[in-house]
């Protein structure tokens, strides 16, 4: 890749910036980009850090920085195309900037740090009531407020239906929109995250189960001589991570409290490993007795499902060698790690590190049992 002239390699990066609607940045800004680091995690906010070369008489130092081009709440979109196929990696807002002025020429840098667009939902505290709305309707009502940033809701009905009853209880929101939506997702075993793309300026807000079915991404090869695409891959099996929650629920009519039955988690999380791991710990959920029965059941299911992932792996890969961008929050196959650890995994988080001439990814994957269910992975 180093022998290819600038602008003709297989990896191209496009930066767009602007207050709410973005446009491509001047060529000087792209040329000054020293490194970009973008982290995307399932169920959490994504973050980014971009470093620019701050030349003394360059365009950034002379005009753009004083004019507020890099001010907080400026929107920034990073898209990368590998071999002509474009992917939006980030759609976020700048939160802080740091200027490191150095005595040595060429060592002054401007670093901007920020988070993805869900920061917008975390800015303002709000108290609101949602009478007679089930959780997914409440999430949809909240997400509609952010459509002018191109956020498209992708909301699914909850697994355990919770019919609302405004004579019994009216649901209140305290705190920010993001806190409330994340809390609702956690109570149902779902995740909430913003997925940038498919085109720059748009993103979809997913409130639903993790994507653990469907087409796998191109497999990660390790320990396969010149066919290996991953530099290193470490697996760990934490036996105490999985716990079996128990919940009691009290019938308000008869005052009899019953122990709720253990729900099967496979509809929420289809198994990826052949040998499921046993739950070593057992703990009791607090506060479920006074909830509605459906709510308590949903919370029991959510706790059982979230703690099921006991096997986690982490590693790094070079996109040039792998040939594809590894996307977070999807399934991927692993081969070459031995009989116990081969097979399909869920990609929990990915950190993209881009520099001129290199594109590295660090990732973590997880699943709930040893041994692959299928004899093949998608190559």
């Amino acid at each position: 890749m180093f022998d290819v002239p600038v602008g003709q390699g297989p990896v191209h990066l496009t930066l767009r910036m602007g207050p709410k609607l973005t446009r491509p940045v001047p060529a000087e800004v792209t040329e000054a980009l020293l490194s970009a680091q973008i982290t995307a995690t399932a169920g959490e906010r994504s973050g980014f850090q971009l470093a620019f070369d701050l030349t003394k008489n360059g365009l950034i130092n002379r005009a753009l920085l004083p004019e507020g081009f890099f001010d907080p709440k400026t929107r920034i979109i990073v898209s990368v195309s590998v071999k002509g196929t474009a992917d939006v990696l980030l759609d976020g807002l700048i939160v802080r900037q740091e200027v490191g002025a150095s005595n040595q020429p060429g060592h002054s840098t401007l670093t901007v740090t920020g988070e993805d667009l869900s920061l917008l939902m975390d800015l303002e505290e709000r108290t609101d009531r949602y009478p007679n709305l089930p959780p997914s309707d409440r999430v949809l009502a909240i997400l509609r407020r952010y459509s002018d940033y191109g956020i498209r809701p992708d909301v699914y009905k909850e697994k355990v239906a919770q019919p609302p009853h405004q004579d019994l209880r009216v649901h209140y929101q305290t705190g920010t929109d993001l806190q409330y939506v994340t809390e609702l997702a956690r109570a149902n075993g779902y995740t909430f995250y913003l997925e940038p793309g498919p085109t720059p300026g748009r993103s979809s807000a997913r409130w639903g189960p993790e994507i653990r079915l469907g087409i796998r991404q191109h497999a990660l090869n390790v320990n396969m001589d010149n066919n290996s695409t991953v530099d290193q891959l470490t697996f760990s099996y934490d036996g105490t991570a999985r716990e079996e929650p128990q919940a009691r629920w009290q019938d308000p009519g008869t005052r009899v409290s019953t122990l709720l039955p253990q729900p099967p988690i496979s509809p929420l999380r289809p198994p990826l490993g052949r040998r499921p791991t046993p739950a070593l710990k057992r703990r009791t959920l607090s506060g479920t007795a006074k909830q509605q029965r459906e709510q308590a059941e949903a919370e029991l299911l959510a706790r059982a499902a979230v703690s099921a992932d006991v096997i986690s792996g982490s590693g790094s890969l070079d996109v040039n060698r792998h040939g594809y961008i590894l996307q977070p929050r999807q399934l991927v196959g692993v081969r070459g790690a031995g009989r116990a650890y081969d097979g399909d995994y869920y990609v929990k988080s990915v950190t993209h590190t881009l520099r001129p001439g290199s594109y590295q990814q660090n990732f973590t994957v997880s699943r709930e049992g040893l041994e692959a269910r299928s004899a093949y992975v998608r190559p």
Partner: protein
């Protein structure tokens, strides 16, 4: 689109439902289902419409959407794809930007100027 999907939809993606990889020009094409006389269903790829061409830039306006290439002797569409996108199989992006019927028309005459879209401009693609 701002609707709540039933829970079952979240996990019902059929593996292999869309046979084309993301780098293919048919990735965005709709898949139709034809029902034969005996009731069997056959999947087929629907006709693919070209994405709209970008408007002609005014004089002095910054060219954001594409750059130009002057054809020289020995150029071929796949060589241009290799040169501008890093992948010879991406020549169709250049053919889309200069609507031609036959991709060989792109590089027929040395000296003619063709548009090359910038990589990373997602355009109208969906995932």
């Amino acid at each position: 689109m701002a609707d709540i999907e039933p829970y079952e939809n979240a996990l019902d993606a059929i593996p292999g439902a869309h046979p084309y990889p993301r780098s293919s020009r048919y990735h965005d094409a709709d898949i139709g289902i034809h029902r034969q006389a005996d009731g069997t269903e056959v999947r087929y790829t629907k006709r693919r419409l070209l994405p709209p061409l970008p408007p002609q830039p005014e004089a002095g306006d910054a060219q954001d959407e594409s750059r130009t290439h002057t054809v020289s002797a020995g150029d071929r569409p796949d060589l241009l794809g290799r040169r501008y996108f890093g992948d010879p199989a991406q020549w169709w992006q250049i053919a889309d930007a200069n609507p031609v019927l036959d991709p060989r028309e792109l590089t027929d005459e040395a000296g003619q100027v063709i548009d090359v879209p910038l990589p990373g401009n997602g355009g109208e693609r969906r995932v």
